[in-house]
């Protein structure tokens, strides 16, 4: 049986009930081990607390004591398909953990409390999801029990959320669900207190989503390393987009190496083709465009970690300057030197210009051409770099994502625009 896996990230403001919602979903779908239930019951007694569904997720002692999620948690459960649910903290101080949890998601569910409505992190999370390119598929208006299951309240909160989405530029097809996670209403089971709502429950909404795994046409093979196997040079890496076949004429950039693919290797056997996601090794031979066999051999030996390979007729382009939109966990100044990572390439770069400083809560431009940005800000930045292959995120997402590093530490993430 083929199992499709959907990775969902739950986002929202602190205390709007993300962990409770996930705990409830797991509990109602019978996905929690008996021992875990016993363990949580034991903890509830030890800490003299009222039972909370969130306790199924918050596994750190500090999380239990402070009654809040500190780090991202990934849990799996089986619905119509296999789900990995990622819970991220709703506090501003944990943007780092939110980005970590959200960057691997196929789609997102936003949780907004009916009694509080749109709050600071509601907006920030929507902004960051949009920047990471993760679509929102459902908005759960939670805690409907606290507002007497009022249809008016639900509709007001929905329209406030829609306004925020519009202002950020999110045009996803979104389902709005009135729910009470604590009572398990419209999560797994239909609520009996909201006759006015005939739409989907959360689990129905999740099951109804079609995974739009885009497959781009252009071949981009990212080089991780070059191995010497039985005196044969094997270039190992991952197909980030497109399809590669034995016999294809290819070019590696920035090393500017022309070659033909002689064979594609997995551990057990040679294969004739590799597609998006495949980790393979390739052996190269002289391309037709090589001047001589010798020059081809020496040229092929120039391929190295950080190179990106594409078809000769649609080759990757090396840049020395590009513009990105990034969110930063630390301050950053114009003129500063740092490192950028794009796939396996790690390059020196300089912040040539900060075009705009953006409020990561509202998405509004705060300043044009500022000399610096603060921790927690987003910004449009022009980088001068060592030669590196990048693509626009909108065209080939895997080649359009970068991390900013200062002294080896990831201090931000961005996309090429």
């Amino acid at each position: 049986m083929e199992e499709e896996e959907a990775k969902i990230v739950f986002v929202g403001h602190v205390d709007h009930g993300k962990s409770t919602l996930i705990g409830r979903l797991l509990y109602d779908s019978d996905s929690i081990h008996d021992e875990r239930i016993t363990e949580v019951q034991g903890l509830v007694e030890e800490f003299k607390r009222r039972f909370e569904f969130a306790y199924f997720l918050d596994a750190l002692e500090d999380e239990m004591r402070e009654e809040r999620t500190i780090d991202t948690t990934a849990l799996m459960f089986k619905g119509k398909r296999l789900y990995t649910l990622t819970d991220v903290p709703g506090h501003r101080e944990f943007i780092r953990n939110m980005l970590t949890g959200a960057s691997h998601a196929d789609f997102a569910v936003l949780v907004v409390s009916a009694d509080e409505g749109v709050r600071e992190q509601t907006k920030r999370h929507l902004f960051l999801l949009n920047l990471l390119g993760v679509p929102v598929i459902a908005v759960v208006i939670n805690k409907m029990d606290a507002v007497s299951y009022s249809r008016d309240v639900f509709e007001n909160v929905c329209s406030a959320v829609k306004d925020v989405m519009r202002s950020i530029g999110i045009n996803d097809d979104v389902i709005f669900i009135p729910a009470s996670a604590i009572n398990g209403e419209n999560i797994y089971k239909r609520s009996e207190n909201m006759d006015w709502y005939n739409g989907m429950t959360l689990i129905e909404a999740l099951d109804s989503v079609e995974l739009r795994r885009k497959s781009e046409k252009k071949l981009r093979f990212v080089v991780q390393d070059v191995y010497e196997i039985a005196s044969c040079r094997v270039v190992v890496g991952r197909v980030a987009s497109g399809v590669m076949n034995v016999g294809d004429e290819v070019v590696f950039e920035p090393s500017h190496t022309h070659a033909r693919i002689a064979s594609i290797k997995t551990a057990e056997r040679d294969v004739s083709t590799a597609e998006k996601g495949d980790s393979v090794g390739i052996v190269l031979e002289a391309s037709d465009s090589a001047v001589s066999a010798e020059s081809a051999v020496s040229a092929v030996s120039a391929v190295r970690r950080g190179d990106v390979c594409g078809h000769a007729h649609d080759k990757p382009v090396t840049v020395r300057r590009f513009t990105g939109e990034a969110v930063l966990l630390e301050h950053l100044k114009t003129g500063e030197r740092l490192n950028l990572k794009v796939c396996t390439a790690l390059v020196d770069a300089e912040v040539s210009e900060i075009s705009t400083r953006i409020d990561s809560e509202s998405g509004e431009v705060l300043e044009r051409f500022p000399s610096e940005v603060k921790a927690g800000d987003a910004a449009v930045i022009v980088f001068e770099t060592e030669p590196v292959v990048v693509e626009r995120f909108s065209e080939i997402p895997p080649l359009g994502r970068f991390a900013l590093l200062r002294e080896g530490k990831n201090i931000g993430a961005g996309i090429v625009i």
Binding site: E2, E3, E4, E5, D30, H33, D34, E35, R36, E39, L43, E46, F56, L57, D58, A59, L60, E61, D62, M64, I70, D71, T72, T73, A74, L75, M76, T84, R96, N97, L99, T100, S103, H104, Q224, D225, Y227, V234, V236, G237, R238, K265, T266, A267, E268, G277, D278, S279, G281, K341, T344, R401, A403, E407, G408, K409, N410, I411, G412, A413
Partner: protein, 267 residues
């Protein structure tokens, strides 16, 4: 191979090759259990038939006889560069689980590993933990930096956006690398079946009992089971509501035991 297993394998191989390219002195930890044996098999796939770095086995002196036999057989067949790490001082002093499981695990496993890492100067340790094993493991990153004292600062984990893993940067620190963090227990068994990976006979039922998770003999209990083949184990896992580590005593001696063990450097 199913497309799910193929995509799990592709990602694991990508992570292993990243670690091999980025670290000077990596090593892989092998308990002889199904998960770390799967990781060794993935290494052999990633590096075309060999494991190109040392394989560390932490010997507490209290493992099952079958584990030692299995270890020695596979080490020969797969031509592994083995390092056996033992905390001889603690073993000589007669430490055991009866004197407290946290102290015993810390001395015989964590301390033994700490000593081994500093002796060999390893900068990366490849470990076979999975997110679905335990709530605390669900919080792990693919690369997990550990400080000089081995501690996992779970309150302050790095930004790990997309596949941009962040290694430990300071002198004397090391990075834990988790190539099968995204796998489930069921995936491991389906992969073992598909790839015909050798596994320890203790996993298969005899007289109505089998081991689902292997550790030290005094602290590991078998579960009730009649699953005597890999197919039967896969069927059993599809139905069970019992946790994988239910038979592992050290996890549940006290509240947050696993968290405390891991914060101290436990695997």
């Amino acid at each position: 191979m199913s497309s799910r297993l193929r995509s799990l394998e592709n990602r694991s191989i990508y992570i292993l090759r990243e670690a091999y390219a980025e670290f000077d002195r990596p090593a892989v930890l092998w308990s002889t259990g199904k998960d770390s044996t799967t990781v060794l098999h993935l290494c052999r796939k990633a590096f075309f038939g060999e494991v190109p770095f040392p394989v560390i086995h932490i010997d507490t002196g209290r493992k099952f006889r079958e584990m030692y036999e299995f270890r020695d057989r596979l080490a020969r067949e797969w031509n592994l560069n083995m390092i056996i790490a033992r905390n001889e001082d603690a073993l000589n002093s007669g430490i055991g689980p009866e004197k407290g499981k946290l102290a015993c695990c810390t001395a015989l496993k964590t301390q033994a590993l700490l000593k081994c890492i500093s002796e060999h100067n390893f900068d990366a340790l490849i470990l076979a933990i999975r997110r679905d094993e335990h709530g605390v493991r669900a919080k792990e990153r693919v690369y997990s930096p550990r400080d000089r004292n081995f501690r996992w600062d779970y309150r302050d984990q790095p930004l790990e956006v997309w596949d941009y893993f962040q290694r430990a940067t300071e002198e004397g620190t090391h990075t834990r690398v988790h190539p099968i963090l995204h796998w489930r227990e069921l995936d491991v068994w389906e992969f073992i079946k598909n790839e015909q990976i050798p596994v320890n006979p203790l996993y298969f039922a005899r007289n109505g009992k089998r081991y689902r998770s292997l550790g030290c003999e005094p602290c590991t209990s078998p579960i009730e089971s009649n699953a005597a083949t890999i197919d039967e184990i896969i069927e059993e896992l599809k139905r069970t509501k019992t946790a994988e580590r239910a038979g592992r005593a050290q996890d549940k001696e006290k509240a947050f035991m696993m968290m405390k063990l891991r914060a101290l450097g436990y695997m």
